[in-house]
């Protein structure tokens, strides 16, 4: 049997500041947004920072965030959209510089799991986009990077070997079975880190334009069991650590599913961790 003991897993959710998680019971009644992280860290040891996709991170805000979490806590930060979705030809290098500066407190404090480069659905494997991605990865070199493709043209061994050569993590995604979307794989391209993102399988809501519909999905136990097995057998033996994130945030489904996956990986079987109780892996 493959050795999984050496791999450290970080399991959490994509973002943590959702008012509706109070209704679903994850956060205690009356939790103020400013206290959600304090509450979140009692259960999970990692989170993805979504807001860095909308806004260039600022070092003082990152510093304040570092102070709020324990030493073992890690952040995965999304690369800002000005380098993925709204790239301006002559400006993006400056944006990379600003992003590095903003991330500095996380790096210094050892709280950065990786930078998540989430590419848009229209970012297909064309010459222009390939050149841009190569230039972007060069510009970001030195940082721990994970690349998430949303277009199936990138599901190619050549792409995986190039990522492996650069020691960059390919993000394995779980999303609906729709034409054009990146397929459900379990590939490790970086021996330091593998990465899985669970977006939910809501095929109907996926292209609705509304996040509340797109990410409204509750994983069934069989689906999570299948993933637990895959993580144990195919991913954990290949990397020193793994980041696993649930993005199906609607109605508190993300923390619920994340906790269940932790239970399954710990082989607790039918024994469930309390809904918002502490969970360690």
């Amino acid at each position: 049997m493959a050795d999984t003991t050496a791999c450290r897993l970080y399991i959490g959710t994509s973002g943590y500041s959702y008012g509706e998680w109070i209704d679903s019971g994850f956060y205690p009644d009356g939790t103020h947004s400013s206290n959600m992280l304090d509450s979140y860290i009692k259960t999970f040891h990692t989170t993805e920072l979504n807001y860095t996709w909308y806004q260039m991170p600022k070092a003082p805000a990152m510093e304040r965030m570092c102070e709020k979490v324990p030493e073992h806590f890690k952040f995965a930060a999304k690369l800002t959209r000005t380098m993925t979705h709204e790239v301006k030809k002559d400006l993006w290098q400056k944006e990379v510089l600003a992003f590095r500066q903003g991330m500095e407190p996380l790096i210094r404090a050892g709280r950065l799991l990786c930078i998540l480069i989430q590419l848009p659905p229209y970012f297909e494997r064309s010459v222009d986009f390939r050149n841009y991605l190569a230039a972007l990865l060069d510009e970001l070199s030195g940082l721990p990077l994970a690349v998430e493709f949303r277009h199936d043209s990138w599901a190619n061994d050549k792409v995986f070997s190039e990522l492996a050569r650069r020691k960059i993590t390919l993000v394995n995604v779980d999303e609906p079975d729709l034409p054009g979307l990146f397929p459900r794989l379990s590939v490790v391209t970086n021996p330091d880190l593998f990465y899985v993102r669970f977006h939910g399988r809501n095929a109907k809501g996926w292209r609705s334009g509304s996040m509340q519909k797109q990410f409204d999905y509750d994983y069934r136990d069989e689906e999570l069991k299948e993933w637990a097995e895959r993580i144990r057998v195919e991913l954990m033996p290949e990397a020193a650590s793994g980041g696993i994130f649930f993005n199906n945030h609607v109605r508190g489904q993300a923390p619920k599913n994340a906790l269940r996956l932790i239970d399954l990986l710990l082989r607790k079987g039918g024994k469930k961790t309390p809904w918002n109780g502490p969970s360690f892996i």
Partner: protein, 394 residues
């Protein structure tokens, strides 16, 4: 309940609208001002003109002296209003709690209650920004915060383009390093006084206690104390509150052409409207009076209230002239309707030492009457002028 406020701001709104029509003017210095008018002032200018020293409200002649080559366009208010209406239409899809300036590209939205329906406020702001750009080629700055004050400061920081998300709980830290001049609500005299104490930044002014602030700032001290801490509980006024008109009607029991009865009825209607305005902390900017004669003919007259007011007596003074203007026939009057519109917030700035005048006494009297009515009912106290109508009606 914790609030999520979005501020969308299209910098140099009039210029943005005009350059959409004439793209060749984009990226160049441009002034919007009524060129032919005597003593014309600058209504708006492009960022490029700003960099050359042109400012809103300065005399056009002075702006011209700065650079004679800057093209000048006459303002087209209808166009700006229409553009604003188009933008607002998109925002209504997310919340009815929308407050906006008068065709100036500023929109505040309270999306606290619509997160479950539309997702995180940050995403709503981003989607609106994309929609504005795609549908109208207008690119707003946007910010998300827990109050209007913090959201507004945030957009000021990234002007003319960009976004700023101030996380809940981060308000004090966000404001701390900023110059005091960036804080909305601090007026020029406040800043001047703070400067005299060598206080230039928010973090410096925060060192003063409320009691210490009261010494130079008297009644304004609590406001200043709150503002520099990012405390701003003022609500985003619902769309209906900012745009709707207020109206009052009076049907005469017997058709009349007695001046006393008409003036009395007019005063009663004004009292009704002004009371609502005061409750909403608004001033009326325009009034319209419609007289319906017993033969079915209607006469209308309207005028601007300058200055805008929610004071019964000041509004009556203006409306009495309207009555004279509309009352042009000998035929008896059956019905009067008074409409008040163009609401705006009252001027916050007051003098430190206000001498007692007729106006200040009137304000005090109205405040006292409001207090009595709040406690004992609206008929507990009446203005003498309205007794005439009551006598006739009874």
């Amino acid at each position: 309940m914790e609030r999520a406020i979005i501020h969308l701001n299209i910098a140099d709104f009039a210029v943005a609208v005009e350059t959409n029509r004439a793209p060749s003017l984009k990226g160049r210095p441009l002034i919007i001002a009524p060129e032919g008018a005597p003593r014309a002032v600058v209504y708006d200018m492009s960022d490029e003109a700003y960099k050359e020293g042109v400012r809103k409200g300065i005399p056009l002649s002075r702006a011209r002296r700065l650079n004679q080559k800057i093209p000048i366009l006459a303002p087209s208010f209808n166009r700006y209003e229409q553009a604003m209406k188009d933008l607002l239409k998109e925002t209504f899809a997310f919340t009815p709690l929308i407050e906006y300036g008068q065709a100036d590209g500023h929109i505040f939205m309270d999306v606290s209650a619509s997160k479950r329906l539309f997702g995180p406020s940050v995403d709503v702001a981003f989607r609106l920004k994309k929609t504005f750009k795609k549908a109208f080629n207008l690119d707003p700055i946007w910010s998300v915060a827990t109050s209007k004050l913090v959201a507004k400061v945030a957009t000021r920081l990234v002007k003319p383009l960009g976004e700023y998300i101030v996380a809940p709980g981060d308000e004090e830290a966000f404001l701390a390093p900023l110059p005091l001049s960036l804080i909305p609500g601090l007026e020029k005299p406040d800043l001047k006084r703070l400067k005299e104490f060598n206080l230039f930044f928010v973090s410096e002014a925060r060192g003063l206690t409320l009691e210490q602030l009261k010494i130079p700032f008297l009644q304004r001290a609590p406001l200043i104390y709150d503002r520099i801490r990012g405390i701003d509980p003022s609500p985003v006024r619902a769309f209906s509150e900012t745009t709707s008109t207020l109206s009052a009607d009076h049907e005469f029991s017997n058709d009349t052409n007695t001046a006393g009865s008409l003036r009395s009825a007019l005063y009663l209607m004004i009292e009704q409207i002004c009371r609502v305005l005061r409750t909403r902390n608004l001033h009326g900017g325009c009034t319209k009076l419609i007289l319906s004669y017993s033969d079915g003919v209607q006469n209308t007259s309207a005028s601007r209230l300058s200055p805008s007011t929610s004071n019964d007596m000041a509004m009556f003074k203006a409306c009495a002239l309207l009555l004279d203007k509309a009352w042009t026939r000998r035929v008896r009057i059956r019905h009067m309707r008074l409409i008040c519109e163009k609401f705006c917030p009252p001027m916050v700035q007051t003098e430190l030492f206000t001498p007692e005048t007729k106006e200040t006494r009137q304000v005090a009297l109205i405040q006292a009457m409001d207090k009595i009515r709040n406690r004992f009912g609206k008929h507990a106290i009446k203005a003498g002028l309205t007794l005439t109508e009551n006598r006739i009606a009874s």
